[in-house]
């Protein structure tokens, strides 16, 4: 059994009085696509930065590729690739120059660098765009360029911090194709995101809220896990009023809009849909459908967050 690519145990980070990350522990196996999901400010970026050796942990241990992030940061840095939220591209340099630079500072030998750049161009479809200034590329291309820069030196582990921020859905899809290709090749990816749909694409997911790990599992298991509540999906003619009505209803723990529909979190019971219809009828809302559905990632997240808060 090979050692995990990433081992985190009790990782903590405090900034003065404020605790950004509190005692987080998890492991990531080699070749996994691991997601850190959570709202903005939950501490995901802080965790990634600690694992990259940029931020010194206040407590706990992190090991990447077998090296300690606190004690051997340089060894860690040599083995990882990192794509920051802002892509870290030099906007006044061409795509090619950016690639050459990152290849240079990661010590990729010139011949190897040529091959890697070829690969990068193929994988991202940047052929013909190499001479353009990075600042002139649309966001989707820039994202891919940034990813290539992070991968030139063939790292074992790649950290991607909100890699799809501000990128169109088609580019996002393509991006994830690349991640899967990498995983097949044995590269471990740790991705942070606040997009629920992306979260579902990860092999395993860690839910981070308020600096703490509130759940760790495969996405499917999270959704399938028996919970104390179920999700009733509602289609009706006046979502606004329905939302208000459900907010008042006694059995409904939480209600929110889901596109044009509503998701109501109700105490687990077979009567749940009926109760929902009652509440809506009482408010004079005509409801065409109310049925139990499998929770989406977002639903799971909302439930878990609420549970975590109640436990406190």
């Amino acid at each position: 059994m090979t050692a995990p690519a990433i081992e985190v145990s009790g990782l903590t980070k405090r900034f003065g009085d404020f605790t950004a990350v509190e005692s987080v522990s998890f492991e990531v196996a080699a070749g996994e696509v691991f997601g850190l999901l959570g709202p903005n400010g939950a501490g995901k970026s802080t965790i990634i930065r600690m694992l990259c050796g940029i931020l010194l942990p206040s407590g706990g241990e992190g090991r990447v590729g077998g090296h300690s992030v606190s004690r051997e940061p340089e060894a860690v840095r040599a083995r990882i690739g990192y794509m920051s939220q802002r892509f870290s591209l030099y906007l006044d340099l061409t795509a090619e120059e950016n690639l050459e630079f990152y290849g240079g500072i990661y010590g990729v030998a010139p011949e190897r660098l040529r091959a890697r750049m070829e690969w990068a161009v193929e994988m991202t479809g940047l052929r013909g765009q190499l001479m353009r200034l990075a600042g002139e590329l649309p966001a989707g291309w820039r994202q891919r360029l940034a990813l290539c820069c992070a991968l030139l030196h063939e790292p074992e582990v790649v950290f991607l911090d909100e890699p799809t921020a501000g990128v169109d859905p088609i580019s996002r899809r393509r991006f994830w194709d690349v991640i899967y290709d990498l995983a097949t090749a044995g590269v471990t990816s740790l991705v942070t995101t606040h997009y629920m749909d992306e979260a579902e694409r990860c092999d395993r997911l860690a839910l981070i809220y308020d600096g703490r790990l509130i759940a760790l599992d495969r996405p499917q298991e999270m959704k399938a896990a028996p919970r104390a509540e179920v999700v009733v999906e509602v289609e009706c003619d006046d979502p606004g009023r329905a939302l208000a009505a459900l907010g008042e209803a006694p059995d409904v723990r939480h209600a929110r809009l889901h596109g044009a529909r509503l998701h109501a979190h109700v105490a687990r019971s077979e009567q749940a849909p009926a109760r929902v219809r009652e509440a809506l009828a009482g408010a004079g809302v005509r409801c065409s459908r109310a049925s139990i559905v499998e929770p989406t990632m977002e639903d799971v997240f909302v439930s878990l967050v609420r549970e975590a808060e109640e436990q406190r």
Binding site: I54, Y82, S84, L91, L93, E97, G103, I105
Partner: protein, 373 residues
């Protein structure tokens, strides 16, 4: 330290420079433009200072005195006053800068060996010119006295016939160009170098690309030195242009070893660039970096390092403090090599100080570039 990484960083920095031709152009041309502008503009040779004279005595002696004062190139007789009260008006109107008021019984007093005195009025609003005018007057007055006094006093006074022989060395004509131009070079280089490098690291911080650097295997010294190299090139080009201008346009002599001066200039550049780098490493925004670089180099370099005001005239505490400024030492070095023709044998303490400062500034920059945020 990896040469590969260092070169990659230097190459990138060079490309940044080349991608911004306007900044590059300014960086290359500004020094020489400034040198030419200031070289022609700044002139301390107080010549033809307009003088107003009130001479009630009108004796041979008094006329002789006035004539000796206005004969040379320092003063010219701009107005003859009818009364002492007119002096103030003449000064206020800026018609004259100095008013000379002779006593009524000038010749008679001298002949009798009585104490007499000459009054001068100067406007202190422009104190630089005022104090220099006064010292010229003093010198010329006493010079006249030493030459004419024995005759004027008709032997009623004892005189010791001391004859002063004054020799001016290194800058025989007391031409201010020779003093100002080398000083200007020091000032301009300092400011430009610090300004340019002050932006380098902090720009990456503002744009967010610094994370990409921090996460990579590059070390602090590679980053600092890599960013420094292209600017050394620019600065050396500046030096060449400026030196050529100084020699060709202003005929500033070069009596010493040009190669020595070049080597020491390189050291000075490292110090100046290092100062800017140090600022860049520690600030969060380009604006603040600029302000620190500008305020930290402009006025101090002009006013405190011996460019105009001699360091030896400053309060002792301040004198010691300015030794920490590279320009203070280089100022002495440039003038000494160019005008006095001296070499390392005499200048080694200054050269050593300069090298130490350069090493300290660069070292501090490297240390300051933290790989952990």
């Amino acid at each position: 330290m990896s040469a590969g990484r260092l070169l990659a960083l230097a190459d990138k920095e060079m490309r940044h420079l080349l991608r911004d031709p306007r900044s590059l152009g300014v960086a290359l041309l500004l020094p020489v433009v400034l040198l030419v502008l200031y070289g022609y503009a700044i002139n301390f040779d107080l010549k033809q200072i307009p003088l107003a004279v009130y001479d009630p005595d009108r004796s041979r002696e008094s006329r002789d005195l006035v004539e000796s004062l206005t004969r040379g190139e320092h003063f010219r007789l701009a107005a003859v006053l009818a009364g002492p009260g007119e002096a103030e008006a003449a000064l206020q109107r800026r018609q004259v800068k100095v008013a000379l008021i002779l006593p009524e019984k000038f010749a008679a007093d001298l002949a009798a060996g009585r104490a007499t005195s000459v009054q001068t009025l100067v406007s202190g609003a422009d104190s630089l010119t005022a104090s220099i005018s006064l010292s010229y007057l003093e010198a010329m007055l006493q010079d006249w006295w030493v030459r004419r006094g024995p005759a004027a006093s008709g032997g009623s006074l004892e005189f010791r016939r001391v004859s002063p022989q004054v020799r001016i060395w290194y800058n025989e004509d007391l031409a201010s160009v020779n003093f100002i131009i080398p000083g200007l070079v020091v000032v301009i280089l300092m400011m430009l170098a610090a300004l340019l490098t002050s932006q380098t690291v902090v720009r990456e911080r503002e744009q967010g690309t610094i994370e990409g650097l921090v996460v990579s295997p590059v070390t602090g010294s590679e980053v600092v030195l890599g960013k420094l190299l292209p600017y050394v090139g620019v600065a050396l080009a500046d030096v060449a242009l400026v030196a050529a201008a100084g020699a060709l346009l202003f005929h500033v002599p070069m009596r010493g070893d040009a190669l020595l001066l070049l080597a020491l200039t390189l050291v000075y550049l490292c110090a100046a660039l290092g100062a800017g780098m140090l600022i860049s490493v520690h600030t969060g925004s380009q604006q603040v970096a600029f302000m620190l670089a500008f305020v930290g180099t402009l006025l101090p370099t002009i006013l405190l390092t011996g460019f105009v005001f001699p360091v030896s005239s400053m309060p002792k505490a301040l004198q010691m403090m300015v030794q920490l400024h590279p320009a203070t030492h280089f100022m002495v070095i440039v003038r000494a090599v160019a005008l006095k023709g001296v070499g390392l044998g005499v200048l080694w303490p200054r050269a050593l100080a300069l090298a130490a400062l350069a090493a300290a500034l660069l070292g501090a920059s490297i240390k300051g570039f933290k790989k952990t945020l």
